[in-house]
């Protein structure tokens, strides 16, 4: 088991965004998370990647607790140093790419491996060029992010996350900021990673993609997991009324 999220609770002010959410991700598994806007999908990913702190529940990576709930019902995290190790387990691909504009593509990929993980420049560069090759953009290694199309930028962002050699990669609507004609190239790359059994959690509105690529689908609404299971069951034979309603919007 790569990741266990147990009874996760998170609120902003008096708005309960995550109400007791639990899910697991096995090694090599691809989990898609779908759900209407505001249902807490991004918040869940941000909690899993330590960009937000949970209020209650447990986060367990590879059998080790990053956060647990104490007797008073409050979430407590491991200390700063240990948390860095947990951060190393997970990568996150943002909707808006968030590449570093002042670094060229290669430097975007090797800077953190060198300065955060202490890897050698030669090794980091070799790994980076390998990844860029896989993403089909090896020839743009010395370009700057602004010189790339959105689809290329997102592929660089995926490569940047992979360059850290994470155990699990999270995607938060990786194609939502892209023109429709560019989503295909990014989805193709994710599909390719799935074929290589990269462990991934993908928040997406691309239903056909989710159905084709994932081993499991989670439908979230109002801060709870309404339904989860095999993509064919969830998409073709949803049990919950809310799931049916939500999926109807995507059919035409």
């Amino acid at each position: 088991m790569i990741l266990e999220m147990k009874n996760i609770k998170k609120h902003f002010g008096d708005h309960e965004v995550l109400k007791d959410i639990s899910f697991n991700v096995d090694k090599g598994e691809v989990v898609s998370i779908i759900g209407p806007s505001g249902s807490g999908k991004s918040t869940l990913l941000r909690c899993a990647t330590f960009l937000e702190t949970i209020d209650g529940g447990e986060i367990v990576y590879m059998g080790k607790h990053a956060a647990r709930t104490n007797a008073q019902g409050q979430a407590v995290y491991v200390d700063h140093k240990e948390l860095r190790e947990f951060r190393g387990y997970c990568g996150l691909v943002f909707q808006q790419f968030n590449l570093f504009p002042h670094y060229d593509i290669l430097k975007n990929l090797i800077d953190a491996p060198i300065h955060v993980q202490g890897r050698s420049k030669e090794e980091a560069t070799a790994t980076a060029m390998d990844l860029l090759g896989k993403m089909g953009i090896a020839d743009r290694a010395n370009a700057y992010p602004y010189q790339l199309s959105g689809g290329q930028q997102q592929r660089v962002a995926i490569a940047r996350a992979l360059a850290m050699k994470p155990q699990i990669l999270f995607f938060d609507e990786p194609t939502s900021a892209l023109d429709p004609e560019l989503t295909g190239e990014v989805l193709k790359v994710i599909r390719q990673l799935a074929d290589e059994h990269m462990t991934m959690v993908v928040v997406t509105h691309e239903m056909p993609f989710a159905k084709a690529v994932s081993n499991r689908v989670l439908f979230m609404d109002g801060g709870v997991v309404v339904e989860q299971g095999d993509p064919h069951d969830v998409f073709d034979n949803p049990q919950e009324e809310r799931t049916k309603q939500f999926l109807r919007v995507f059919e035409r």
């Binding site: 968030n98 570093f100 800077d111 700057y144 850290m164």
Partner: protein, 215 residues
């Protein structure tokens, strides 16, 4: 007085003006960064003090501030201010410009999208690395035009040193003009400031161009 003696007398003033200019930049540019970071401190007291300092500096004339720094120690503590003139002058300039630079830096830091911090955090950069490697380089590019403006203002503001009877180029121009009943010293001073600012624009333009490799 011939033109050349006039010019060579004033050349000393030009050096002094340049000295005030250079020392002010050297002191206020780093200090401004410290002030900008303190203004985002976790401690409310620090933020209040820093905000008060910035609004006090921006709300009063530099000329008045210079007088306060120079005469203040005498009136407050009876300090002998015989050799205090130049330190007071530089102190006044540095503290004044640091406040303005701090506001420029703060604006620049706040203009960096939060996604840059988040990307850095997920990649495991610590706070110092995030600031030095990711945020600061982008801030510098964004604030260059404002910094250029500020530096140009400083070139002209050095003439305020005459308030403390410091013999920089403007004070000398006034003196020589009065004693020689000549307009020439003012022309020389004018050309000096103009040329200095032309150089500033040239250098800053070069730096901006060098930072043009990304958007």
């Amino acid at each position: 007085m011939t033109f050349s003696t006039m010019f060579s007398t004033m050349a000393i003033g030009m050096l002094r003006s340049f000295g005030v200019f250079a020392l002010t930049l050297l002191g206020s540019m780093p200090l401004g960064m410290i002030v900008a970071l303190l203004k985002k401190s976790r401690f409310a007291l620090v933020r209040v003090v820093v905000s008060a300092y910035i609004s006090l500096i921006r709300g009063t004339p530099l000329m008045l501030q210079l007088l306060v720094w120079y005469f203040g120690p005498f009136y407050l503590f009876g300090m002998n201010i015989g050799s205090w003139r130049f330190p007071a002058l530089i102190l006044g300039f540095v503290l004044n410009y640091a406040a303005y630079f701090a506001e420029i830096y703060r604006g620049g830091i706040e203009s960096i999208p939060v996604g840059q911090y988040e990307a850095a955090e997920v990649l495991g950069y610590n706070r110092t690395q995030t600031f030095m490697r990711i945020i600061l380089p982008q801030v510098i590019k964004r604030i260059m035009p404002s910094v250029t403006n500020e530096v140009i203002t400083l070139v002209k503001d050095t003439s305020l040193a005459f308030t403390l009877a410091y013999q920089e180029v403007f004070s000398l121009a006034k003196q020589i003009s009065a004693s020689q009943t000549s307009f020439m010293p003012f022309l020389i001073a004018g050309v000096f400031y103009f040329v200095a600012n032309y150089l500033v624009e040239f250098v800053m333009g070069r730096i901006e161009k060098a930072l043009d490799y990304y958007k």
